[in-house]
Amino acid sequence: MRPVLYVASFLGVMLLAFWAYRENYTTQTMLKDVSALNREIAQMRSTLAMQRAEWAYLNRPERLQQLVNANFDRLQLLPMTADQFGSPEQVTYPPEPLFGLTIDPNAAQDELIP
């Protein structure tokens, strides 16, 4: 009985040692992966910051104003004025259903605009 116990515990120790060895290397690989990912994230962050800065720079009001002036023939953009506010009555809504009948809007359109 005793020799069996010895052999079994020896084998157990060997197994655990093997497991620990593998775990150690898995951990190290993972740490490497993580740091590589972190580096990539940092890289992407700095690229993103750069893009944001560039976006802000290209959208600076001064440049937009120049673009508006340069393209005035085509776009005819002017500063907003108070009379550009509309009222709800100016919005065209779909026609009221006739005699309470529910009409399929597409079909109704076909009828109205032949």
């Binding site: 972190n38 910051a49 802000a56 600076r60 009001p61 108070a82 506010f85």
Partner: protein, 594 residues
């Protein structure tokens, strides 16, 4: 345990038979027993000592080995960081209230040299001088060859410049990474942002520190690695641009040498736009001027640092104060016969008018100095001082700019009756346009004190009450009448009822007295008057409208048209709908629509 008997019967009987003394046997046995006990005790003590010795030996061995390992290994940071605990080494961005970037960072490189590694210092010096016109080839070569081991050449390089330096191809030229502060909008909001510069510099990095404005005021917050989220200002970039645009054009048309505008939300005290012209580019902050008046430098923030005598814009405070104290109502009759003689002083009206008997409302409408002085004399100096202090006109603006605390309003040290009189119409007391905007905001929001801020606030702020809602309402109506019937007729904007008060003040001469032909004009306005939401203060420095043969300098001809144009431009941007005629009381809007 088996005890050995001290007097074993068998031996005693044998000893008795042999005629020996049986006590000897007992003594013998006793001695043996004691020896045995002594041996056992010693063994136990020795065992304990041994155990302790081994234990201590192991402990010290472990500590020793650990110390040895720590001493002999390279230091390394722990590589595993928990997610969520991210810290940022970058200075936080600054955005406007909608999250549009006003200041951010850019990765760039600094150029330095190790002259001992240089192959051909002469060639490097000539090439660098060709690339960067501000460098001198001869001086560079001298410094490359005088035996130094390290020198900085340039603090910032653009990617193209960096490539060009790479192309020189000398191993003695090296690059150090840098975070550079970038203001993508150039001149826009330059006085708010201030600027940044490098603090301590190393090869691997350099600290970026704020130089002025909010960059310096909030330096600790912006550098805090635990708070990488952007700092949101109360400024709205679109409004800021529109106001800058209009104000710049207005300044040119009115031949002014400077201009300032403050646009403020009256309920929260958030400054939506703060413009001071001329301005500068915070990316390339000019050096402060060393000669002449620092107030003429583009770095000078006229809206916050510029402490001016703001003139008649103060009259409404006198009127509000008197109504609050119950001394008058807007319809009380005041004797405004000019001139008013007080001791050795004569108080005159603008351009020698004489308005005679008039109501309080008309005093404000016509901007009568004498009428205001009479009201102020009824209030008395102490109550006048207390009221003005409660509006924040005696203290520096609490805005988040490093320049703000230095711009203390100039308040007369003593308060005789003549000071009461002059203060009532805004002379002899000087405050910044920001102070004025905060005081008008208190009238506009129904009478609670406003503390202006440049940071975005969540929700309304309830300040301490400085006047009753009725008083505030009366004051707003009086300001409205200035526009409909009085000096600010240019501010009639169809659909938007504006109320406000003009102010024209002669500039003090540093040699004493006042200039005859130099004025500071301001227009402090609030709109829409049926439910005031915003306050706009426009100040022009030395304007003159030269379209007619005689230059016109009064605020009604200079500051008001500019302010009106500003309001026309910003109201649609703020989503304020034009008011229908029936929403506004009486004939006032009819005058606007004309």
């Amino acid at each position: 345990m088996i005890r050995v008997p001290l007097r074993p019967l068998a031996r005693i009987l044998t000893a008795r038979q042999a005629g020996d003394n049986p006590d000897m046997i007992e003594r013998e046995n006793r001695r043996l027993r004691h020896e045995e006990m002594r041996d056992r005790g010693r063994m136990r003590a020795e065992g304990r000592l041994l155990f302790m010795g081994i234990a201590f030996f192991r402990l010290f061995t472990i500590i020793g080995v650990r110390l040895g390992i720590l001493a002999s290994t390279e230091p390394a940071e722990p590589r595993l960081a928990l997610p969520g605990s991210e810290i940022s080494a970058n200075r936080a961005d600054i955005t406007d209230r909608e999250g549009r970037v006003l200041a951010t960072n850019l990765q760039t490189y600094a150029l330095y040299a190790h002259p001992q590694d240089m192959i051909d210092p002469h060639h490097v010096a000539t090439e660098l001088a060709e690339l960067f016109p501000e460098l001198d080839a001869a001086a560079l070569e001298r410094r490359f060859t005088d035996g130094r081991k390290f020198m900085w050449i340039r603090k910032k390089l653009s990617p193209e410049q960096m490539q060009a330096v790479h192309d020189i191809g000398d191993p003695g030229l090296l690059f150090g990474p840098r975070q550079m502060r970038l203001y993508p909008n150039g001149h826009l909001a330059s006085h708010i942002l201030g600027g940044a510069t490098f603090g301590a510099e190393g090869v691997a990095s350099a600290e970026v520190i704020g130089m002025a404005g909010i960059e310096k005021f909030e330096d600790d917050r912006l550098r805090d690695p635990a708070r990488p989220e952007p700092l949101a200002l109360s400024i709205d970039m679109t409004l800021q641009q529109a106001v800058t645009d209009v104000l710049g054009a207005g300044m040119k048309m009115m031949n002014a040498k400077g201009a300032a505008a403050v646009l403020m939300d009256v309920h929260t005290g958030e400054v939506l736009s703060l413009v001071s012209l001329p301005d500068f580019d915070p990316n390339n902050r000019p050096a402060p001027i060393l000669t002449g008046d620092p107030g003429d430098s583009p770095l000078f923030n006229r809206a916050v640092q510029g402490v001016y005598e703001l003139g008649s814009t103060f009259k409404i405070f006198t009127a509000a104060n008197a109504i609050q104290l119950g001394l008058v109502t807007p319809d009380t009759i005041i004797d405004g016969t000019a001139p008013l003689i007080w001791g050795k002083y004569r108080i005159n009206e603008f351009q020698g008018h004489n308005y005679g008997i008039q109501t309080v409302s008309e005093v404000i409408e016509r901007s009568s100095n004498v009428g205001t002085a009479r009201i102020a004399l009824e209030i008395g100096g102490e109550r006048q001082k207390a009221f003005m202090r409660s509006l924040g006109l005696f203290d520096p603006s609490p805005v988040e700019l490093v320049e703000a605390p230095g711009a203390r309003p100039i308040v007369p040290p003593r308060w005789p009756d003549i000071v009461t009189i002059t203060t009532s119409y805004g002379h002899g007391i000087a405050a910044s346009p920001m102070n004025l905007a905060a005081a008008y905001a208190a009238i506009a929001n129904g009478g609670t004190r406003v503390s202006p801020t440049l940071l975005r606030r969540e929700g309304p702020v309830q300040g301490e009450r400085v006047m009753s809602e009725g008083t505030a309402r009366d004051a707003v109506n009086m300001l409205r009448r200035v526009v409909t019937n009085g000096s600010a007729s240019f501010a009639r904007i169809p659909g938007y009822p504006v109320g406000g008060k003009t102010g024209t003040a002669d500039k003090p001469n540093p040699q004493g007295g006042y200039y005859k032909d130099r004025v500071v004009t301001s227009f402090a306005s609030l709109f829409p008057t049926n439910d005031p939401k915003y306050v706009l203060v426009v100040t022009l420095d030395e304007p003159s409208d030269n379209t007619l043969s005689k230059p016109r300098r009064a605020a009604g001809w200079t500051a008001v048209p500019v302010a009106a144009e500003v309001i026309r431009r910003v109201v649609p941007l703020m989503g304020l709908r034009p008011v229908e005629a029936e929403d506004v009381s009486g004939d006032q809007l009819a005058a606007d629509i004309e």
